[in-house]
Subunit: 208 residues, 4 copies
DNA sequence: TATGAATGAGAGTTCATTCAT
DNA sequence: GATGAATGAACTCTCATTCAT
């Protein structure tokens, strides 16, 4: 995995306990209420700290959001890379990564909503940074895909484009599965298998 | 036709000329700056009307956004349904619909960003309506898919899930293709063919 | 009744039918919703005319309010003067005028609320005119009182001050009687007799 | 300075100093310009604070108004109850309370106009609260009256109705006395005695 | 470190009024 | 006469951010 970018993981976890509390509270709130629906005061209350403390650990609201997002991407990427390194066949990796996304939704983790939130509906000075973060993640996926293409495990295609396509595919279905209506229930049930099937068919080499 | 009232139609047009200007300006701004980044004053300026005029034609900012979005979805849906009714084979319909999305991006239409914007990053009282709109569109696509499945043109799968998956797949790539960097250029060039290929492989019947 | 001002009744009734409709609708709305709670659009709708028509018959919203108020005062004043001219004893006039106020409340006429509204809670450029109107009415009452004092029917006192005092006394109780709770019911029942008693005791000559 | 903490006490004062400044400025402005004529920006400017500070101490404009009004009522009520508790005869209490109202007017206190403002010309969601406040005040007066009736100091009558009648009587005259014309001057001079006389005659027992 | 009172620009929305038809 | 589309200033309220303590 020579060319793989790893600087998504920029900071170690043990920065400070308050910073961690803030990030955790913010992740939930951003996922639940969106970027603009989440005020700094609310984050402070939810984290059990003062507003001043927020600005002690983060330069601005934008930075809080970026930090939250960075952590989410880190987690997903680490999981995907771990599966890959286990030497599993590509079809199995795809299946498990899709399952990962759905189980996060089922467990109520904020990831699902957050990643959807991440690349749109964000004010302008922040958008380029978010897109860069997303690009970094997509590029990592693309690197994995390219490697698998080289080994003939998946068919040749534009790696970065394929990475974005897979991200969009999974996110769109998990986002719909977040609701609490009958359809969402159904998607949570059949989603992992169906989405993995769609993804794998899109990727598998000609003689499948 | 003696009693034909042609001015019903022409008046209807004149009545809504400002509404049309407003919708057009709003579509651009929402796509460019997001929902919260676009103020009513800005829409008014861009449309060349007063703030009051906005509220003459739309009850609220939310309604402006919904109107914009409704038009975008209707346009896309009409195009897709048109292709379907022409009796083209499913693979060809998929190819052309994907092309449609990309040509909207190339032509600078706001659709690409707008549809991505539509289902996230939106304040809470508005979100359910947006999701319903998106669901309506997805359901139409799902109906087309189900019909094609019945005819054996595409493989059996969960229609609504597949519709969301396709939407997400296309939107994620077109969204990335909106930028003005080298990668975006490349995606605009290879995107239509590559995305259509991905989509068709995900859909085609087993011996397709 | 030599010095009695009569220019409260400035215009004859037969001005225009639309103007009458507007005034009637406005009286209800102002009484029900207050000056600021009543928009020109609402008045127009309630009167069944266009907004333009309002400005055809009245120079401004302020003028509508003044016209409404002038009519209310005219009605009350005419009734009081009529009773006086009938040659009834002062105690009887007081009793009947008080009854008049209460029966307007019971009948749901806007007068009660309007007169209370009239001299306060009104924007600044309009207030002096309202106060002048009220003063004119109070001065008419004061003239009647002065005349009765001259005849020894009521005790000597400052006529204008007494007029304001009586107005305030009656308005405060009728205003409270406007509600739909138990206390308001009770006040509507016992109010006329009790208020007339209070007023007459305040006015009657020393030897009862 | 030897560690002396004098700022504990001054800080406690300072905590509410702004709230006090705001209330004071608002009282003046509401009295002078009415509820709708007084914007939050104006209150902020007059109080020498920012708009944000207004919302730091009060939840809304309505709350500012209620706070102002509550204080006015409390002041008047405390004074009236104090006089009563001194064991003065009822006629003397009436005289002094009336004087109190007039001296507030003479001193330029906003009370006079404010109390008149309080129960009318107020937007709908706020009106019930204002009326409840006024009722509370009226009920206290009514209790004092009922007690005096029990002792035979004033004649039997409906206590609450009488309380409202007295309030209205005094307010109407003091409101007229607020102006700066010749009549207002005269009312400020003769008002206390004349109004007390009117009130006492309305209340005194038969052989008083 | 840590606090939260204080700021003020800017948000969405209303509404009396005008004027071309 | 009569209309109602169009205007824009002014409104209440929010919220990211600062700073004296």
């Amino acid at each position: 995995m020579a060319g793989m970018r790893t600087n998504v993981r920029s900071e170690a976890g043990a920065e400070h306990r308050l910073a961690e509390r803030i990030r955790g509270a913010a992740a939930w709130l951003f996922a639940e209420r969106g970027f603009h629906g989440t005020g700094m005061r609310l984050i402070a209350e939810e984290a059990g700290v003062s507003v001043g403390a927020l600005y002690h650990y983060f330069r601005s609201k934008d930075e809080v959001f970026l930090a939250v997002l960075r952590e989410e991407y880190e987690g997903l990427l680490a999981a995907a890379q771990g599966l890959w390194r286990e030497g599993l066949p590509a079809s199995e990796v795809v299946r498990r990564v899709v399952e990962l996304h759905f189980s996060a939704v089922a467990a109520g983790h904020p990831s699902g909503r957050l990643l959807a939130l991440a690349w749109t509906g964000i004010p302008n000075p922040l958008r380029p940074q978010i897109l860069a973060l997303r690009e970094e993640y997509a590029q990592c996926i693309a690197d994995l895909l390219a490697e698998a293409m080289g080994r003939g495990e998946i068919r040749p295609a534009h790696p970065l484009l394929t990475a974005y396509a897979l991200l969009g595919l999974v996110e769109a279905v998990t986002a719909r599965a977040l609701g609490d209506d009958r359809v969402a229930d159904e998607l949570r049930r059949v989603g992992p298998a169906e989405v993995a099937e769609l993804a794998w068919r899109a990727l598998r080499p000609e003689e499948g």
